[in-house]
């Protein structure tokens, strides 16, 4: 352990019952470096970081921070010591403003002096300084390029904006070490680039960053060193220079990984989805779809590219009857389902993978079985008399799809809550539920977001298999590589309207990116650095 190590972790172990989530992990982070933490979903990255952040207490081992042995009992404890974290799932209060979220828990009094006497303390309990925090937040936001309206309510923000609030919240607390848990999982390429600039700026200012990801090129671009986790064990810590992506992938997965999938030729048939003039409002009542037309045919994958918050969510929800249409018409296989309820869409053979796995995709507290059966329980598959349900059959069915789609972490389908699965495995469970009923139309909103390389490969494979079975697929994604790899047609959505229709052969990542961020054709030549990022 050298002098400039800010964080030293030795033999850190965490057990949940019989499950060893982290097994004697030892590594160190140098002051001022960007340290990558790479691993598949369920490899133990989040557990490890939650111990650093005081959310879990270790079963064994030691944490040294700035040379002193530490034990964190709560995130507050960790923050006070100088460790901040931005989680994959944001920890913001939707109904409060950006500013309120940032200062939450920090009580600053109107006096500039620290509280000393009893009276000051009492006053500190009941007053809140408003101007100074606002100024500070604005300064921080400006200096790191994190544009945000401090008075906007958090529920009004899209995911990218919410993340900026999370980062500001951490920065506001004067931390020395910032843990970023898969920060780019929710961002567009352009936003990611901005994010990277921000991270570099943070490091220039003397901050140390732990960067959790499973995107290999991000590790290569961003980090100084990288530690690789697999199955709860630390495989190796290496200097990023002098290691290739293929080597990293092998360290992470333990086998060779295919980066490109073979896409076979599929016959395209009759339209399964015909939508015209769709208009809809978002949760705030602001128009977010301004009359779009869309057709998906049997055996066709239509990709929708767009920066998060340009109407993708509303589009997807309209197409399953979950969000009311202001105007327009939807036909599924020629049947008019305009203004029909979600049940009619489910019965018509429409499957849906929602953007938010926890909020819309599953009931986290209920068992894997309950979640697996939610689209099929009405069919005669589990029938037992007219009103009764055969839970034995449902459990058997759940076990089948859990095995068939390689969902890991399920101890007992009737006992294990869906929320206990790791993000990637929960996503596989949702896909399993949606695909195993052999839908005619699959609407997948960000199906591979926040999922590791191995699972991404699986999920794309599954979609291609489904396409070969004649399913029409509408794929909404911010991952342009994914769209270019699997789509037959690509549409770019910008401010609630399609601004470009093209095919993967005719377009490039750069062109799509320009349309996504401006809604207009590119006006300049592609810069070279993007070409680097893309591979």
């Amino acid at each position: 352990m050298s002098m400039d190590d800010i964080l030293e972790i030795e033999n850190l172990t965490k057990r949940f019952g019989d499950v060893v989530a982290n097994d004697e992990i030892t590594f160190s982070v140098r002051e001022g470096e960007i340290h990558g933490l790479l691993g598949e979903n369920g490899a133990g990255k989040s557990t490890l970081m939650n111990m650093l952040y005081g959310l879990y207490s270790p079963t064994g081992g030691t944490i040294r921070f700035k040379g002193e042995k530490r034990q964190f009992n709560s995130p507050k404890n960790a923050i006070d010591t100088g460790i901040g974290m931005v989680h994959q799932h944001f920890m913001l209060i939707p109904r409060m403003s950006v500013l309120e979220n940032i200062v939450l828990g920090e009580r600053e009094t109107s006096t500039a002096e620290p509280e000393t006497g009893f009276r000051d303390r009492v006053r500190g309990l009941f007053t809140r300084e408003r101007d100074r925090p606002r100024k500070r937040v604005t300064e921080l936001a400006d200096s790191y390029g994190l544009e945000i309206d401090p008075d906007a309510k958090v529920w009004e923000l899209d995911i990218g904006e919410q993340q900026r609030v999370e980062i500001l919240k951490a920065l506001y607390r004067d931390i020395d070490l910032l843990i970023l848990d898969e920060p780019t999982a929710v961002l567009t390429p352009n936003e990611s680039r901005k994010m990277f600039e921000t991270i570099r700026q943070l490091v220039d200012e003397g901050l140390t960053v732990i960067f959790i990801t499973h995107k290999l090129w991000e590790i290569e671009q961003m980090t100084d060193r990288v530690s690789v986790l697999r199955d709860g064990e630390l495989i190796d810590t290496v200097e990023t220079d002098g290691v290739t992506q293929a080597e990293l992938a092998e360290l992470m997965v333990g086998r060779d990984v295919l980066f490109r999938l073979e896409k076979g030729a599929v016959d395209i048939g009759a339209p399964v989805l015909e939508a015209s003039g769709l208009k809809a409002e978002d949760d705030r009542g602001i128009e977010s779809l301004s009359g779009v037309d869309l057709t998906v045919q049997e055996g066709e994958i239509v990709g929708i590219a767009g920066v998060s918050g340009n109407g993708q969510r509303e589009l997807a929800e309209c197409l399953i009857g979950f969000r009311p249409l202001e105007d327009g018409r939807i036909e599924i296989k020629g049947e008019n389902l305009t203004d029909a309820n979600p049940r009619a869409f489910v019965d018509a053979g429409v499957s849906f993978v929602p953007e938010d796995r926890y909020e819309h995709g599953c009931a986290a507290d209920l068992s894997v079985m309950h979640n697996a059966g939610s689209k099929t329980y009405r069919t005669d598959q589990f029938e037992s008399g007219r009103y009764f349900l055969d839970y034995g059959d449902m459990a058997a069915y759940a076990s089948d799809i859990v095995d068939g789609f390689d969902v890991r972490g399920v101890v007992d389908v009737t006992e294990t809550p869906a929320g206990d699965l790791s993000g990637g495995n929960l996503q596989k469970l949702i896909l399993a539920r949606e695909m195993s009923r052999d839908p005619d139309l699959l609407i997948a909103n960000q199906p591979t977001r926040g999922v590791d390389v191995g699972a991404i490969e699986n999920i794309r494979r599954l979609m291609l298999d489904q396409q070969e079975n004649g399913t029409g697929i509408l794929l909404l994604s911010e991952d342009l590589d994914e769209l270019l790899d699997v789509s037959d047609r690509i549409l770019v959505i910008y401010e609630g309207a399609f601004v470009l229709e093209t095919t993967p052969e005719e377009t490039s990542k750069w062109e799509l990116g320009m349309y996504m961020s401006t809604g207009e054709p590119p006006t300049q030549e592609p810069p070279t650095e993007i070409a680097e990022v893309s591979e």
Binding site: C362, D365, R378
Partner: protein
Amino acid sequence: MFSVDVSSRESLPRWVEYSLPLLTVVAALGVSAIPLAWLGVSPLQSYREIFVSNPTNIRGIANILVTTVPLFLAGLAVYLPLRAGLWNIGAEGQLFVGAIVGSAIALNLSWPAYALLPAMFLFAGIAGGLYGAIPGYLRAKHNVNEIISSLMLTFTATTFAGYLLRGPMQGEGGQSATEQLPTAARLPTVGHPRLHVGVVALVIVAVLGYLLLNRTRLGYEITLIGANPASAVQSGISKYKTYVLVFVIGGSLAGLAGIIEIAGVHGRLFEEFSPEYGFTAIAVALLGRNGVFQVLLAALFFGVITAGGTTIAVTQNVPTAIINVIVALTILFLLTAEFIKDHRLTISFDRSSGTGDRGMEEVS
């Protein structure tokens, strides 16, 4: 100086989850000992009477079972909506409506018992169900908070009962009560003069309730809606139908509880016929929230306390209000237990009495 640190917890140890209801009860009884002792009664002797001697003689058993019936039915009236994520605070009102409609039929039709009793029960159930449907419908269609609407409807129902009993339904004698119901409208008794046949409802409703929640499609839909409405609706489950149905089924059970209490115990309708069964039902549903049979056990527990409390009120000469004290304390501890389930309490002793903002460093 010591400090108490409250932080939320992400997982609950199994043993805590299962022993919590029991600990709650023990803690409530422990604290209830204070007012008992203050009244000059030995808490141990009181508890022995409530939990040992009363439940071991036929009269005591009859009292306990008869008290458990309305508690259980009204408890389910709260529990079913709870499973769908809704709060039915209005079981008391639904119980009153059932009692009013059932009594009105009994007083106005001179049918024989085999026709009269089923008619009373049927219409009491329907009335309770319809009354329950109001908050369910308002919540499902217009997102009106069901806690407030169901509670307000309770006041409406009890006040309306007060009007009826001093007006259209008032019997001879000038009290705010109806005439005695005809004998044909009385539930027969078995084994003991107080033990009416209505107690079979305990078994029948428990089995039906269990089947409904754990074996039927509707039960599955209720469970899914209760766990995550957004995901359930996207699966094609109707939130509207589920919300209305749980309130209708719950309300009709509460309505049945009302008429059973009149036809089985009191023999006529009067303003104070229910010692707030519909509100104790909330505690019953919370205590038994893990399942229908647990609700039955919880109802039985409150039945034991209520029946036993009435007994010690006589034998030990304490005010009957002591029953309410014990019940109220149990509810209080239930809420506390709810908090403990979600939060971890750490009590730490800190010698460097909190000066700097760099926090305390603890090594354990």
